[in-house]
Subunit: 527 residues, 2 copies
């Protein structure tokens, strides 16, 4: 068979030939849009390659983007790797200190930003000596930076194709660094290509030329789960939402643009559901929510299915797994089962996608029984799973036969389905037994008065740790500890797992990627 | 990223862990079935690996199957490559002479057959000195052959996993040899894995754990289009039909087993549609027909959509392309267009799948314009496209930059959609102009009185060649040349393209893989 490298050109080239008329839509603000076609996208990518070639960067330079979801960001996604350089997607929501750290760590030579981040970019240049060029999307607002549009307009399209070996570096993402400094994860062209096929696979998001995808997950967060690569490779219509999340705009976009698949973390879908209930709006031709980042509440999955006819595909993974490792595509045998059985399947973490293998090991590194009860550390192996962090940090995560220890703890059922119990560090250790904060949160978010809930461990002189529930009630509601106890007991939680305290809060603090920030809650409530 | 080989174990391993309860059904005759689960399948594959290890074969031996679609054949599909040996799927419908030729050419060391082919296998052993073992499915009916069931029952399951580099040979298929001797096509583990992902891709058959697939296409014909590999990799329920095609049985299976995707050549779907019209049966939860091998008639695609709500995905390819090269997944922009526009898209050959590139070149090797009119030879490139035939035969197919010249002639539209005009050898050359037999056949099969039609070139003293239409009328119908002329003129065919003769025949002769055998027709009607 032909020796053809699996690289970014393989993802890009048919976009030009086969899907030229397909639209790419960027909602730039609540009332303005940018629209163009794959043909124009491809032409601009080829011009951007010429621009990159002309910037006097080193041959395999690391080129950073710090940007919201937009057509310009998408152009960078393809032009930087197709030019043979390395795409570093910088998380715009990190602290300035972390931004300086990762740009210096990656030794980025250029940085692409939208206008509203130009000032941050300017401040970064002062702290990051490797940064030789700042490029700002749109027409240049200032003399000291390059204008993206001017550069593209002045460049001829690069013709032909650049030969790139499949194991060459493609891109860099840093972990969100909830423990210690962010660590760099280097993806190859091969891993990115294979992961993109997972984005197109039936057990994955199943993108195709028939679909219209709305990635609400930011493109600075593990490449928006690889959706842009899968979309361009398969000719899906793409719709980018506004930088700041607004459930109303999301619902409008879904209806107006014919979105069929929309991707975001559970908190996004909780807020959208809340807005749907408030406004009475519908979801047009939306078929499926793609949901990852943390476990979606059971009640929410059921509401979308029963009230709006919209399915949910949960995916589990992390930056180190590119990110998709497991998904919850319903097995054929469950299709004619009651909705509760189906939602129960979807609310777990599912089974590994083709190419990925999982293994649950005890602290002794021996496999735990797949009985749905025994907890194990989840290890992962596959061609888009990291084998080492940049700079050799975190080597302890790769100590067992080279498999990656994810830091998540789970159980496996006899059917092979994995259920996440918790992040290792979020488990609550009470009197020698483990309590899952994830299980309590999922249950609490099903309570009719609760909008969101986060459960943390607080130190306890007798039991070592005890659970504390922080709860955001729905507008106009109040909730008492006793109600919560009754509710959880009714769901079958044993008495010793019930939270000792409930704290009502206005909103759950979030990390830069939108996950619950339990560090902040612990600091606030652990006295 | 981890250096993980893309091989048969990657397709097989999750079948055990994640899909143990999923059924695999073999309809052994009109009124008997074999059923078991993925767990039993996987256990037997592991036993069969032990059996193969014990047969004293050479390390990378070629092991042949000559069998219908069945669970045993599926076991061989995985055990032979997972053991490190090479799977040679022999087309049971070839002439005895061709069977001898290809087994000797491949130097197969063992041959697995069902009971009804045991006698042929015995005759082959006499002519093929490399064949050291004959294994017959079921309990051995004869002393001189090994019993598949006895071997499996006596073997322990092979534990663990065998390391196989991704570029190692996986399997051999021979072309059907419509011109000259069959030629061997050697697939690698890597090409088979990547093609299997195409079988799971949204633009491809989109197999997943939710689907139930019925491969009517034989497993001896380009690995049943790779469907068994994609199905096992993604946990689809599998239903194998009876060896001899019976439209009644197919319709029953679709309804009883909840088949969602069924795969076969157009003549299969013409016969099923005919039976549906006769019997008034419905198609249960069937969502999509997967159709390849030759161009499906426009009228048939429309009937399935309008009368049964069943879509059709056309795929184009050949043994040399593993086989899927292009598909006709409807672009998002066409989803709200009238059905005629959609069927018009699906009736063409579509666009290349991710990983495959196509190029239409004139006889001068220069690209032809993508104007929907200029005809070019279709060239293909991709990681599951052949770079040379076994033994170096047919080197002229790889002369242009290493791309594979498919032997098909087509046009490309500005949108990038490819339409097949014909096999090079089936084009009709009339007065210096080309006439497409495929276009005429597709149109004729839409005539209300016509069941099937095949168009061939016959020599003509004035025009060099002229088209002759052979037609199978629907039961009880007759049809005249004039009716056909009026019908084709009404569809917009120019007068000079109309067939000069119509011959009514009882059935269209077929090749061993079910395609129209125009060689036979030419011999019969070319005087």
């Amino acid at each position: 068979m032909m020796d053809v490298d699996l690289n970014s050109w393989m993802l890009f080239r048919n976009a030009e030939q086969s899907y030229g008329d397909t639209p790419i839509v960027t909602q730039t603000s609540a009332d303005s849009q940018h629209r163009y076609t794959y043909a124009e996208f491809a032409n601009r990518v080829r011009r951007l390659i010429t621009v990159l070639d002309g910037l006097d960067l080193s041959e395999h330079a690391r080129v950073a983007t710090m940007a919201w979801n937009s057509f310009e960001h998408l152009e960078c996604y393809f032009a930087i790797p197709c030019s043979g350089r390395v795409l570093h997607t910088v998380n715009a929501r990190l602290s300035f200190d972390d931004l300086v750290f990762i740009i210096n760590d990656a030794q980025d030579e250029a940085l692409f930003v939208p206008a509203d981040l130009a000032e941050t970019a300017e401040r970064l240049r002062a702290k990051c000596p490797s940064l030789r060029h700042l490029v700002v999307f749109g027409k240049s607002p200032r003399d000291d930076m390059l204008s993206y549009e001017s550069l593209i307009n002045d460049a001829e399209p690069f013709l032909g194709e650049r030969a790139i070996p499949e194991r060459a570096p493609f891109g860099i993402c840093y972990t969100s660094g909830t423990t210690g400094r962010p660590k760099g994860v280097l993806a190859t062209h091969r891993s990115t290509y294979l992961h993109a096929l997972t984005v197109c696979a039936g057990n994955g998001p199943a993108l195709s030329a028939s679909e219209c995808v709305l990635p609400i997950v930011p493109m600075f967060h593990v490449y928006a789960w690889g959706l842009p690569f899968g979309a361009i490779a398969s000719g899906s219509k793409i719709v980018f939402p506004t930088p700041s999340f607004d459930p109303k705009v999301v619902i409008e976009l879904i209806n107006q643009e014919g979105v069929t698949k929309a991707a975001g973390v559970p908190t996004i879908w909780i807020a959208v559901l809340d807005e749907l209930h408030r406004s009475g709006a519908r979801l047009g031709g939306l078929k499926e929510l793609l949901c990852g980042g943390s476990q979606p509440p059971y009640a929410m999955i059921k509401s979308y299915r029963e009230e709006y006819g919209v399915g949910l595909l949960q995916a589990w993974g992390m930056t180190e797994t590119s990110p998709i490792a497991t998904t919850t595509r319903l097995p054929n045998a469950l299709l004619d089962k009651p909705i509760d059985v189906q939602v129960d399947y979807i609310a777990k973490a599912g089974v590994p996608v083709t190419g990925v293998f999982t293994s649950l090991l005890g602290d002794d590194h021996q496999p735990v029984p797949n009985d749905g009860k025994s907890m194990g550390n989840i290890y992962v192996r596959g061609p888009w799973v990291l084998d080492s962090y940049m700079g050799g940090h975190g080597a302890e995560s790769f100590e067992v036969d080279g498999w990656f220890r994810t830091g998540d703890v789970g159980v496996m059922y006899p059917s092979g389905v994995i259920e996440l119990v918790d992040r290792t560090k979020d488990l609550i250790k009470s009197g020698g037994e483990w309590i899952s904060s994830v299980a309590l949160e999922g249950a609490l978010m099903g309570h009719p008065k609760v909008l969101e809930a986060a459960v943390i461990a607080v130190p306890d002189p007798k039991w070592q740790e005890r659970p504390l529930a922080t709860v955001v009630p729905k507008p106009g509601e109040t909730i008492e500890l006793e109600e919560i106890h009754d509710y959880l007991l009714g769901l079958g939680f044993p008495k010793w797992q019930l939270p000792d305290r409930v704290e009502v809060i206005d909103e759950v603090p979030r990390t830069s990627v939108g996950k619950f920030d339990k560090k902040v809650l612990r600091a606030r409530f652990s006295e």
